[in-house]
Every structure is written in C-alpha cells, then in structure tokens.
C-alpha cells in the first residue's frame, strides 16, 4: 500500500531530465524508509484489536493460485479463529531484486523502522540478523530448560510460554545452533522458530533413465562413482539427453554444498576458543568435493561411440531442459510435509520421478543441506502487546495445529499421496500412507536425518556468493580437464585457500594484527587525502561563488538593510538543503568511522572501514566495472544524441517527425524502461532481441547473463531512453547558431565535416561539456538500473561501485563500509565537480550571440 504509493511517485519523477531524476530518485531512495514510516504512523488503530504485519502466512491476492498459498491461507484462518483480536497483515514489499539483493527491501525497511513485526528468517540470514540485533530474543516466551510437565509441577506454567518438549518437537537437533545463540551471559537465547523444512535430494527423471537403458529403481547412483558413471550413461546430446544439471557460475557454490557436507567439510565453523566464525571449506574433504564436482561439470571422457566429451550435464541455465524432461538428474529440495512441493517436480508423477538421497561420498557419508524457513520477531516491534501477538502468531504457524491444517488442506486438494507419511499418521490420515511412494518416504526420512543447515555465521550471505568463485576459476582455467589428480588437487587447494582467506576477511573480518596495522596506516593516509580533497573542494567552490568584496564596505547594518528580503526568501530553500543534504552528509561522515548498527549501539572503529574497503578485491573490481560503465555511457549515452542532433539539424525535411520518433521513448518511465528491456534481453530463443537476431541469422545471445555482454546490455536501455531528450537539448542549442555563420563558412570553403567541427560543435561546446559531466557523474553513481537489470552479475561483471555501496549497506548491512566507499567515490568525482562548478559559475544565463 504505502510502498506502492511511493513507487508511483517514482514513476512520476521519471519524466524529469535524466540527471535530475537520478538525483531526485537517489534522494527518494534515501528518504523512502522515513516516508513509509510516517505513513504507517498516521494509520490509526482499533484499541482492542491488535494488528501485526508479517512476511508470511498473510492473506495475499495470489495465495489461491498455489497449493502452498491455499495451505497458508488455511493456517491464517485457523489463527484468526483462535485469536480473533489479532489481525495479521501482509507486507507488500513486493520489489523483487536479483540474487543476494533480494533481501535488501526487507533490510531497508528495518533500517527505516517500517519492517513487519514478524519477519522471515532462514539459517543463512540468521547470523547477520542476530549480529545486527534485528531479532528480538524470544527469552520471555521460550523456556528451554524444563518441560511443560515440569513447569506445571513446579507451579510456574504459563500457557504463553513454549517449553522444552514443544521446542524439541519443532526444532530439529541440527539447527538448534542456528535458531539460538549463546549470549554474553552464557545463556542460550532463541531468535526464531522454524515453520517448514526442506532438504536437498537427488531427483531422477525415470523416463530418461529408461531411455538410457537404466532401471531407475535399481540403477540410480548410490555413490559418487556411480553418479559419474550413471550420468555418463545418460549424457547423449545427440539424443537430446543430458546426465545432470549442475551450477557452473554464481550458483556453483550453492549447488555443490551437499558434496562438501558429505566429505565432512564444515564450511563455516565457530571457533571454540575465540568464539569467532571461521570459514573452513579449504579442508581436505572440501578439496576432494570440489574436484569431484568440477569433474562432473567438465571432465573429459569418451562415450561408447568414441566421441570426446566434457562433463556429464548442463549448467543451471538449462532448467527449461529439465522441465521438458530431457535431463536425468538434478539436486532439488523436497519438503517435510508435501514432499514434491518444489515447482520443478510438483507436476511429475511417482512413475516419472525418483527421489533418492545424495550419493554417498568416499568418506562413506551422505549429508545433504537442510533449508529452514522460520519466523522471528523484528526488533522494531517494541510495543509489548504487539510483541505478544507476534509471538502467538509465529508460535502458531509452526505448531502441530497449524501443521494439521496444512495437511488437511493438502489432503482435501488431492495431494495425499505426496505427503510425508509421518505427518499423515500424526494428523489422522493413516489411510493414505500406503499410497505414498516408499522411495520418496525413505529418502525424506534419510535426508532429514543426514543433513546440515546452510552456514549460519555472521555475514553468511557473502558465503554463497564467494564460495562459487574458486569453482568458477577452476572452470575457466580448465582444471577438470587436467588428467593428473595431484595437479588438480593442489591448484584447487590454492584457490580454496585464497577464497577462505578472503571470506574470513570480508565476511568475518578476520585479519592478522600486523596486516591490520599496515592496512590502518594506508587507510588513514587515504582517508586524510579524501578529507583534504573535500576541504579543498569546498574552499574552491566558496572562492568561486563569493564574488569579491564589494559589500564589505557596507557594514553589516547596511548589508542587512539591503538584502534582508532576498535572504528571507532564500531561507526556506537554504534550510531544506541544510536539513536534507548537509545534515545527512555530516551524519554520514561520522558513520564511516563506526561499525554501524541500525538497531542497538554502534562502536567507533577508526579507519577500519576504509581499510576494509581498500583491501577488498571486490571494491577494486567494482572500480574497474565503473570505469567500463563510464566508458560505455560515454560511447552510447553521451555521444549519440550529439551525433543525432547534428544530423537532424542538417535534415531539411521531416525533422519534426524524426524528433518525435526519437523522443517517444523518453515518455516511458525509467523503471519501466529497465523492466521492458530486461524482457527484451530474454536469453532464450523466444527473447525479443534474439528473435530480431534470428532474422539476421545470428544465434541467440545471453545478453545480461553473458559476462562480456552484460555491461553493454545495461547501457543500451539508457541510450535508448536518453537519446531523444539529449538530442532535443542539443537541437535547441543548434537553433541558436546564427545562419550566417554557416554561410560565411560555406564561402570560406567549409564542407560538411569542417562546418560541424569548426562552427557547430564549438557553439554548443559549453552544453556538451555540461552534459558530459552530468553523464559522467550519473554513470559513476549509477546503481538503481544495474540493480534492476543484473544486480551486479553475472560473476560481478556489472558490479559497479554504486552497487557495491548498495550491497554494503542493505545486503551485508555494513553501513560504515558502504559510507566509506561512498566517500571514496565522492573523492573520484571531486575533479569533475570542480570543473562543473567552474562552468556554472561562469554561465550568465543569457542567450548571447556575437
């Protein structure tokens, strides 16, 4: 609701000139949390009724379209029945972003204190959420020490409290550490409660198995070796048949997780002595797992017919191929209630779909990944009544009662044969148990037992992103194609060692003290340079605009008398600029030196934020990407309108038509332009641009998903939308060039090019320079369009510095670091700004002709 209004405002803003609208939009993004906050404050409340907002289990318009939505609605109704005075409401943070940025809207709303009371938490996020104090410890609602019976016996029983037995029923042992943390007081504090579990298993397409001459019920892979050989047997591109689907790019780290777990790698572990989280995925098991995984993807082998092949599957863009039933195996989630809940398998019958555990590793173990969906109470909920209502809600939605409602919904909708038999028995549907495929049941049971949660240390979001890097490097180096195992393993070891070091540094902030001391020195120097540059800039601008001492003789009295009205009229604008531009700047400057927490205390950490930035490779990559972005912006956004305007001004006829044609795109608002082009860039053959290419006999391109094309693809929509408005500005300027200048030049002997070069361009040069600076500054700061288009991917190919700031602040929640980057970015723009200021100070805002 309120958020959409703000979005609507955004679209309106888009009709402004691009540079203006980018600034306004940035301001709006910054203001967004406040606006939403104010709007929600205004909403009045019924005294007896308590409404809470929640990310899950709230009524939503599209709930009816999925069985999961129906089940959630049933739970919602059951809750309302039980607690008629509590009104859970949805949270329309419907902005969807790519990849890790997907969590950003929630984080932004937390920062702006407009977050829902009940928020979705998974184990990967839990570390950061808890570390950043986003979640209320559920101390007053959970008593893990004694059982309900013991409480009754001791006479301290409270209905509103969850005791040990209920807790144990709900929280699987392996995630006990994820939902709770041992606090400084030495006690265990719980922060969120699961309501749903998923485990990853091996899904097998039985039809494909049979086609390859395998019996799916017997020949499914039980060990890693079998996995490789079965996949080889299935893999036959000639028959449009592929072994297995495996992530190759940014998703590789996540796809391969079960292999690492099975080899006993802990990935991320809490160091018992220091209590710190440490990345550990460079142990021997991990290297073996990585070797196996990379070999699956790209190892050379020869098939029966003697064809040289590499790898036994397709990478993760191939899901459409899975969907049309041409891939043998895939690692997919199954649900602990409705086993085939996942879209990729929900339409497959037990005759088609085999579900088997992750093959056993050479270590003799099969350990898969357990994904937990849970809910916690957001720390922005301070009112005790709301807190209590929120607790009742999150306790209820994962309770046996709710589970019963869910099971009933599934059964009533005809899903009985796909439900976890254990749950069927528990909720009185034993008659269906025999209809559930035994293989599914066994796999679910086994996998739930033999699984570990995703890493849940602080900043573990970064893990998913970074853990793919060594794999990607291995692929690009062709490592799996090397025959000598020792060579492969030692190279992998190197890659993983450095990845672990980087993660420990970036994610967990662990740097040896001597290295840190050095970094602090460098950071201090850089920081001082930045500060000095800014001081210099301000002095420069001051000198530029304070036009000499004519008034000094007047004295303050005379000055006041003469100018009081002017200054009085100026005051509101000045005040607004002070409050909205300079106050945040000053506050922001301070934040660069804090380990800033949105909720709770922030500690002063000196120049450590700058140190973290300067010694982070991603920062330097983002600088490089920004340079690329700027380059393409100049080439595609800045130059074409000039060229177009020059040509249009030369065309004697129909130029109005051309002007209209070129201006039309500008009428489409910014966000829509982005989304529209994102559709055009659809990498499949059905994509609009690919269809155009097909006409020209060019094969489909991957556009935004191709590392080498992504950056250009991001700029193209900007070029498209900016062409008309940019061109119009120049056309207007060209009209001011006196005709007789051209005539004089013609008599002097100017041809077409010489005329443009010597007459036209010089006359519009001031405008060209100003536009150039606007484009440059806009390009340096751009983040929003990149976020919408690629969110920095693929593999950081479009990870510009503006986006790094966004990620730092809203994804990794390292506001201090983000601000430090912003200051450094500002530093790069100082030169440009000075130039621009100089131009503006020299402009006299008249139309002068010779």
């Amino acid at each position: 609701m309120s958020y959409e209004k703000v979005l609507h405002l955004f679209t309106k803003l888009n009709r402004m000139p691009s540079y203006m609208y980018i600034t306004v939009r940035c301001v709006c993004i910054l203001l967004l949390p406040f606006v939403v906050g104010v709007i929600s404050l205004v909403g009045s409340e019924d005294l007896s009724a308590i409404s809470i907002r929640t990310t899950d289990f709230a009524p939503s318009p599209d709930a009816v379209f999925s069985i999961q939505g129906k089940a959630e609605m049933a739970v919602y109704r059951a809750f309302r029945e039980k607690y008629p005075n509590i009104y859970p409401e949805g949270n329309s943070l419907s902005l969807t972003l790519e990849g890790p940025a997907g969590e950003a809207p929630l984080l932004m709303s937390i920062a702006g204190r407009t977050a829902p009371d009940v928020i979705h938490v998974n184990s990967r996020q839990s570390g950061s959420y808890i570390g950043r104090n986003f979640l209320v410890p559920l101390d007053e609602f959970i008593n893990a020490e004694i059982t309900k019976e013991a409480a009754i016996a001791a006479g301290i029983y409270d209905e509103n409290v969850m005791y040990r037995d209920e807790l144990e029923a709900r929280v699987r042992p392996q995630i006990w550490d994820a939902v709770s943390r041992i606090g400084d007081d030495g006690k265990r504090h719980f922060y969120f409660l699961p309501f749903s579990y998923f485990v990853r298993v091996m899904a097998c397409n039985k039809t494909v198995f049979q086609e390859a001459g395998l019996d799916p019920d017997v020949d499914y892979p039980k060990t890693w070796d079998e996995l490789a050989s079965v996949a080889q047997q299935i893999q036959s591109p000639e028959d449009d048949r592929y072994g297995i689907i495996l992530g190759k790019e940014g998703g590789a780290g996540w796809t391969s997780l079960p292999f690492f777990f099975s080899m006993g790698s802990k990935i991320v572990e809490r160091d018992e002595s220091s209590g710190q989280w440490v990345a550990r995925f460079n142990d021997e098991g991990a290297i073996r797992a990585a070797d196996f995984y990379t070999k699956l993807v790209d190892a050379p082998w020869t098939d029966e017919r003697g064809n040289q092949r590499f790898g036994v599957g397709l990478s993760d863009e191939a899901w459409p191929t899975w969907d049309r039933g041409r891939i043998g195996m895939a690692l997919l989630y199954i649900n602990d209630i409705l086993i085939n809940l996942d879209d990729r398998i929900s339409s497959m019958s037990p005759e088609e779909l085999g579900l088997v555990p992750i093959p056993v590793a050479p270590s003799g173990k099969s350990v898969t990944e357990l994904h937990v969906r849970g809910l916690g109470i957001c720390a922005t909920t301070e009112d005790p009544d709301r807190m209590d209502a929120a607790w009742k809600f999150l306790r209820f939605v994962g309770s046996p009662d709710a589970e019963g409602v869910i099971v009933r919904t599934y059964v009533e909708n005809g899903y009985a044969s796909y439900i976890n038999p254990e749950k069927l028995a528990q909720h009185g549907y034993s008659e269906y148990i025999h209809t559930v495929p035994k293989q599914w049941k066994d796999t679910l049971e086994f996998s739930l037992e033999n699984s570990l949660p995703e890493p849940f240390g602080e900043n573990c979001q970064v893990y998913i992103e970074r853990a793919s890097k060594p794999l990607q490097t291995a692929f690009s180096e062709g490592l799996p194609r090397i025959e000598d195992e020792a060579t492969r393993l030692s190279r992998l070891q190197e890659l993983y060692d450095s990845a672990v070091m980087e993660i420990n540094e970036k994610m967990l902030g662990q740097v040896p003290p001597d290295v840190m001391a050095f970094r602090r020195k460098v950071a201090l120097a850089v920081m001082l340079l930045v500060a000095l540059s800014f001081a210099f800039l301000f002095a420069y601008i001051w000198r530029l605009f304070s036009g000499g001492g004519a008034e000094t003789k007047m004295g303050f009295q005379g000055w006041l008398k003469k100018y009081w009205l002017a200054y009085a009229l100026l005051a509101p604008a000045l005040l607004a600029i002070l409050v909205f531009n300079y106050y945040p700047l000053v506050v922001g400057a301070r934040m660069a030196f804090l380990d800033y927490n949105v909720i709770g205390d922030s500690s002063f950490i000196g120049v450590d934020n700058f140190a973290a930035v300067l010694f982070d490779s991603v920062f330097w990559i983002s600088l490089l990407r920004t340079a690329e972005y700027v380059f393409w912006s100049i080439l595609l956004v800045f130059i074409p309108p000039i060229v177009l305007a020059l040509f249009l001004s030369e065309i004697p006829k129909a130029s109005v038509l051309f002007r209209v044609l070129y201006y039309l795109p500008a009428l489409v608002s910014g966000l829509i332009v982005m989304l529209m082009w994102k559709m055009f860039f659809d990498p499949s053959e059905a994509g609009a641009l690919n269809q155009v290419l097909a006409v020209l006999d060019v094969g489909p391109q991957k556009w935004l998903q191709d590392k080498s094309q992504a950056m250009v693809s991001i700029i193209i929509p900007l070029a498209w939308a900016g062409m008309g408005p940019g061109c119009l500005i120049y056309l207007a300027a060209l009209k001011t060039v006196p005709e007789d200048l051209y005539e004089a030049a013609a008599i002097d002997g100017s041809g077409f090019w010489s005329r443009i070069w010597h007459i036209t361009l010089p006359t519009i040069r001031p405008l060209v320079m100003i536009q150039l600076i606007f484009v440059l500054i806009g390009a340096f700061q751009s983040a929003d369009n990149v976020l919408v288009m690629t969110a920095g991917g693929p593999d950081l190919a479009t990870h510009v510095i503006g986006l790094e700031i966004f990620y730092g602040a809203y994804v990794y929640l390292r506001f201090g670091v983000a601000i430090a980057i912003a200051w450094i970015l500002g530093f790069f723009l100082i030169g440009l700004t000075m130039f621009q200021m100089k131009r503006i100070s020299r402009m006299s805002f008249t139309t002068a002709s010779s």
Binding site: P738, L741, E743, A744, A746, I747, D748, G749
Partner: protein
C-alpha cells in the same frame, strides 16, 4: 577579367508550394570588372536575394549568372572567387581575430607563412594589428566589421559582396567605414557589389547604382545621372533627400503657350518652358506628373506665370539653407529648399516657382520619364 553578368536572373522561393514567392524577376545587369556597384531599393525588393545568388548562398531559379567568363549557377560558393561581408559580421565567435581571417585560407591549404603575411597585411590596412589575438566578443561593432572586411580581403577574391555591412553601426562610424571601404576599393582594385538601402551610401560609394523595386531593376546608372535624370517616378522618388516633389496634372495649350495644369482643390497653371512644351505636347492625352527636386524652386511673385501659391506648414531654417514644407493651393504637399535663412510663419502665404529647366515630366500611368 571578373565582371559579373546577370542575364534574366530569377529567384523563386519555395517554388510550387503555397507560399512560393517570386523575389527576383528576371533581371539583367552587367557589372564591369573592378566596378563598385551599389544595389539599392526599398526593403524586400530583392537586393539581398540577388547578392546571395551571386554568392551562391541561394540557388538560381532561372537565368544565367556569370563571373568573368564562367557560368557560376551551379558552382559552390567557395569556388566562385568571391568574398562576402555580412550585416551581422558573421564572425566565428570561438576563434581569435587572426583565426577568423585565416580560416578560409587554412581550408584552402594555403601555406602558413603566406597566411600569416596576408593576415598581417589586412590587419595593417584595417588597423587591427593590436587586436589579432582577441575574440570577436571583445571588439566594438566597428572593429568587428573591420575584421569581417579583413576576412574578405585576405582571400583576395575577384568579387567582394557586401550586404548592408554598415547598418549596425552608429552614424559616425558609418561615415568613417564608408570612406574606408571606398579607399579599399581604390586600393584593391577589385569588383565590389554593395547592397544598401541607404542612398547616401549609394550615392557616395558607387561607381554605378542599380535601383531595384519588387524584384526588378528600375535603373542602372552613375549616381549623378540617376539623380539628375531618373528614368522613372520610382527612381526619382527613391533617390534624393528630401524627396522629389511630384505634381499631378494635364497639359493644356492656349495662345500664351503650353501650360501644365495641376489638378486638385484649385487648378493651378504653370507655364512650361520650350523644352518641356515639346515633350508635353506629344503627350497631351495622358495624365502626367511633374517632378521637381526641392532645390529647384525659387520664391516669386504671385503674378509669375509659373507661380505656385502655397501655405507654409513648417519652416526649417538650417542656416545655409532652409527647408520649407508647403501645402499648395492645389492641395499638394511640397518641400522646397531655399538658400539662406527664410523666416516664415505657419499659415503664411508664399509663392514659389519651379525651375523648369531641371524639372521632369513623367507619364503618371507607366511612371516612365518622358
């Protein structure tokens, strides 16, 4: 040899469209080599159009344009051997004075030293040496026009074209520049075509004057001859300040001789001289106009046979001479110039007689001088 010959030259703007406009209607004009030809005429008569056709800035619609021996209709401006000075100077604002002058030479790949010599020379002639490094913005109007002249000079064109080059300057500057251009003509010995609507410029500068009206040439001749014997009413009225006086009437002959009867409120009879009588007699049937320049009047007595009685409307004694605006009994307005100071009160009755030796008779209908 670089005279300019226009034969049946026509210009139609936007031919075939609704707002097509026939600006120049088949003119013939021969401008001799090294001649200073002035094109004058009222606003909109097609002077600029003619000049711009010569320059190649407008396409010729029909007819022939020759410079020297060469037909130039379809030759690019830069290849016509011309240079043009514009009313608004048209200096390149972002180039220095020197660069402005050198621009055309640079485009022609003239050697650097040559360019420098020519620019220096032109600057010396025009007194611009001090200003060579400045931008046009930092110059006065007169200086800018001098730069524009310089730009034309360095090119050493066969034909200079000027389109009202002085009209943006103040009166004093105009007089000064007029002299300078005249000197320049003498010095450079080039053909010059000069468009103006200022007849003083036309009279003082031109070897010959071409008077235009509505896209046609009314008369081409030396300034004095245009003044003394205008071919038609238009030229007669256009050249000369104050204007020639025109009196409409018919010819009557009686025993006393041939009379020009001024028709109007009250018929006035002016006895013609023998020379005019002859002309008048052969045009008895047509309505005529008698043209007399203001200086060709004298005071007379009422009984003079050529006396025109009139009432004083305004008297302008200027010292050496006086202009007196009169309203004749026939109802015609007259301006007469008399030498010395003539004191006259408004409404006072005055008798003037035209100097018929210097009067002209025109056919009122065709406008042609008889």
């Amino acid at each position: 040899m670089s005279g300019v010959t226009l034969s049946n030259l026509s210009k139609t703007y936007n031919p075939g469209s609704k707002d097509s406009f026939h600006a120049v209607k088949g003119i013939d004009l021969e401008i001799r080599d090294k001649e200073f030809m002035v094109l004058v005429g009222p606003s909109g008569c097609g002077k600029s159009t003619t000049l711009r056709m010569i320059a190649g800035l407008e396409e010729v619609s029909s007819g022939d344009l020759r410079i020297g021996e060469r037909r130039m209709n379809d030759v690019l401006p830069k290849n016509r051997g011309i240079a043009m000075v514009f009313q608004n100077y048209a200096l390149y604002p972002h180039m220095s004075v020197a660069d402005n002058m050198a621009f055309g030479l640079k485009l022609r790949k003239t050697p650097k030293s040559e360019i420098q010599n020519r620019v220096q020379e032109a600057a010396d002639i025009l007194g611009l040496t001090e200003m060579l490094g400045r931008r046009p913005k930092a110059l006065s109007g007169g200086q800018r026009q001098r730069v524009a002249l310089g730009r034309a000079i360095v090119r050493k064109p066969d034909v200079f074209l000027f389109d009202e080059p002085l009209s943006n300057l103040d009166a004093k500057m105009r007089v000064q520049m007029r002299a300078e251009i005249a000197k320049l003509h003498a010095r450079l010995n080039a053909t010059m075509i000069y468009v103006t609507h200022d007849q003083t410029e036309a009279m003082t500068m031109g070897d010959r004057i071409c008077v235009m009206k509505d896209g046609k040439i009314m008369q081409v001749d030396e300034p004095i001859r245009i003044y003394q014997s205008p071919d038609n009413l238009f030229t007669a009225g256009f050249i000369g300040l104050p204007q020639m006086n025109f009196l409409k009437g018919v010819v009557e002959e009686d025993a006393t001789g041939v009379h020009f009867v001024i028709s109007g409120v009250q018929e006035l009879r002016v006895k013609l001289t023998d020379q005019l009588s002859g002309i008048a007699r052969s045009n008895r049937a047509v309505p005529l106009t008698l043209g007399i320049r203001p200086e060709h009047f004298a005071l007379c007595t009422e009984d003079d046979p050529a006396a025109i009685p009139a009432e004083v409307e305004v008297g302008e004694p200027l010292g050496a001479e006086s202009y007196i605006h009169l309203l004749s009994k026939s109802g015609d307005k007259l301006i007469v110039r008399l030498s010395g100071i003539i004191q006259s009160g408004v409404g006072q009755l005055l008798c003037v007689k035209p100097d018929l030796e210097n009067a002209h008779l025109f056919n009122s209908e065709t406008g042609q001088r008889l």
